[in-house]
């Protein structure tokens, strides 16, 4: 069941190669965007002996997908939806953004950079580990640079300018996905897929595991990947804070107040998944101290 959340697959994206083929290109480890240099904590787990073989690796990947994977999938879906929406309904200064990038960066409501910075800040708030934030921004920056040449679009130009230090990887991935003609579900799938394939490949190289065995592990994760992508997209419509929050309490959270009725852009972002993996945080920080490391993260 594909959820057609991104209404932006219409007019603005009509002239793009669309959908599935673009998803394959985007998720392919051969996409020259530097993803192969990151192990997502797997290298440090191998060093510490918490991943020693396929069984440990399977549990590592499943836990990673249920936490970091779900969060990046949701952020990528949100970014793709935003990209599609702004491509369909460009704000006024927007059309001037292509080419030399001389858009006046006015702080007006029409500033197309503003929602991107807000979404990027949501990614920051979900990444407590500075090592992980840095790895995410490095990958995001590289992906935007690459994607601007492969799938040039005003949206990618805007994002590159909105977050000059490098947008978080899932944000960049969502924007690149939209530019390539993918919908939010496909963006979420690419993010979820990346969250496990990188560590799996790294483990093959670090432990000399049988690549077929490891690919079997990834195949076993296929249903969980589908679930994560669906959950990510469902979270875009669930504008309300997780159920169970009493309605009579003072609602500090904008998402609570707006509820599902309000359709202002990004009103649901605060409530997007924030699943955290304390061990991944420790692994990411420990990894920086390893002078012999093979992978950047």
């Amino acid at each position: 069941m594909r959820q057609d959340i991104g209404e932006g697959r219409g007019a603005g994206m009509r002239d793009r190669p669309s959908g599935d083929a673009a998803l394959l290109l985007l998720a392919d480890s051969r996409l020259p965007a530097g993803g192969h240099a990151h192990s997502g904590g797997a290298e440090e787990a191998v060093r510490l002996g918490t991943i020693t073989g396929p069984e440990d690796l399977a549990r590592f990947l499943r836990g990673r997908l249920a936490t970091a994977g779900l969060v990046t999938a949701a952020l990528a879906a949100a970014a793709c939806e935003l990209a599609a929406a702004t491509a369909d309904h460009p704000a006024e200064p927007y059309g001037q953004a292509d080419g030399d990038g001389n858009t006046p960066d006015a702080g007006t409501d029409a500033d197309p950079a503003r929602p991107w910075r807000r979404l990027d800040a949501e990614a920051d708030a979900r990444t407590a580990s500075p090592a992980q934030r840095e790895a995410s921004r490095v990958q995001g920056r590289l992906l935007i640079r690459t994607a601007r040449r492969i799938w040039p679009s005003a949206v990618l130009d805007t994002l590159a300018k909105a977050v000059p230090e490098g947008a978080h990887h899932p944000i960049a991935l969502g924007a690149a996905a939209a530019s390539a003609g993918c919908d939010p579900y496909q963006a979420a799938m690419a993010a979820a897929y990346n969250s496990v394939t990188g560590p799996a490949t790294a483990a093959v190289r670090l432990l000399g595991l049988d690549p077929v065995t490891v690919h079997r592990l990834l195949a076993d994760l296929a249903p969980a990947l589908n679930d994560a992508a669906h959950a990510a997209c469902a979270s875009l419509i669930d504008d309300v804070v997780p159920d169970g929050a009493p309605q009579n309490g003072p609602a500090h959270n904008a998402a609570t107040q707006n509820g599902a009725a309000a359709k202002t852009r990004g009103s649901g972002w605060p409530a997007l998944p924030g699943h955290t993996a304390p061990a991944l945080d420790l692994l990411a920080e420990g990894h920086l101290n390893n002078p012999m490391k093979l992978f950047v993260s």
Binding site: G41, A45, T50, I51, D56, R59, F60, L61, R62, G63, R64, A66, T67, A68, A121, E122, D124, A125, R126, T127, A128, S129, P130, A131, R133, E134, E165, V241, P242, G244, A245, P246, N248, G249, P250, H252, N253, A254, P270, P273, G274, H275, T276, A277, P278, A279, L280, D281, L282, L283, E285, G286, L288, N289
Partner: protein
């Protein structure tokens, strides 16, 4: 911690309870303006600006809905603790037990929230949500410790959500999922730990000097880390086998928070950590 026998506890009807703490400034001092509670959430003032949560009934049990509202007025100080751990049990009523804390900390105010751990008994199904809304120059220390079952016990299920904002901007959003065997034992999530804890330490002191080129380095030890956030705060985080180890690791991590405070004018590593702008990622000198 007093452990109620599960028989009588499980037979009590589920409750909806609401407790409120609000402060006001009275001549430069903090006065508790409101202190209202319902069993099983009972509050007692135990000192100036100090309130203890006292459990006056078992629980929370399945079906219970508990809400704690904390409003720290501008310029005032509040500390909230608990006298004992909270034991989350299954109940006779269907449905999750739910605990929501809604806290607002005003300008120049400070809140320290450090209750004893929450213990997830076998069979429980619990949800916790914290919404912490900070004014621009509010200070907070917010500790949360969760224990996966009593001794030798597998925990029930628990979902937590923590949302902290500063002047409306997101500072930290985290969810924990406990009780899914496929995830709990993952070396990526909790590994072989049986307790997880974190303390958010936030305030204007952590907002200042940040290296624009790169992230500051965390401080890490055995099973703990002090993580400087992107916004004005630090997260102390720990994993451990038992509550004693968890508390000691968490306190260790909390004690490193000052290293990242920008307003410190020390001359040791603390100062360098906050002000070094040339060293990039190697800003913290151990």
């Amino acid at each position: 911690m007093t452990t109620p026998p599960s028989g009588p506890a499980a037979s009590r009807a589920s409750v909806t309870a609401r407790a409120v703490i609000t402060t006001e400034a009275a001549g430069g001092r903090t006065r508790l303006e409101t202190l209202r509670s319902d069993p099983p959430l009972t509050l007692r003032q135990t000192g100036p600006g100090l309130v203890h949560l006292v459990s006056t009934a078992a629980g929370p049990l399945g079906g219970d809905h508990l809400l704690l509202v904390i409003d720290v007025a501008p310029g005032t100080e509040l500390e909230v603790r608990s006298v004992a751990s909270t034991l989350v049990l299954p109940g006779s009523s269907p449905g999750d037990s739910v605990m929501v804390v809604d806290a607002r900390v005003g300008a120049g105010a400070s809140l320290r929230f450090s209750p004893e751990p929450t213990v997830l008994a076998a069979g429980c199904s619990h949800r916790m949500a914290v919404r912490l809304s900070l004014a621009e120059d509010a200070n907070v220390v917010w500790r949360e410790e969760i224990v996966f079952g009593r001794h030798g016990e597998r925990p029930g299920r628990c979902r937590t959500r923590f949302d902290a904002t500063v002047a409306g901007r997101p500072l930290l959003r985290q969810e924990l999922l406990i009780g899914d065997p496929a995830v709990d034992a993952s070396p990526a999530v909790y590994g072989d730990a049986r307790c997880v804890g974190s303390t958010l330490i936030a305030g204007p002191a952590w907002d200042a000097v940040r290296d624009q080129k790169g992230e500051r380095r965390a401080t890490i030890g055995d099973g703990w880390a002090t993580l400087p956030l992107a916004g004005p705060g630090v997260l102390a985080s720990a994993l451990a086998q038992d509550t004693v180890e968890l508390r000691s690791r968490l306190e260790r991590a909390e004690s490193m928070a000052d290293v990242y405070a920008g307003h410190m004018a020390g001359e040791n590593g603390a100062c360098r950590a906050a002000t070094d702008t040339s060293g990039g990622r190697r800003a913290v000198a151990w």
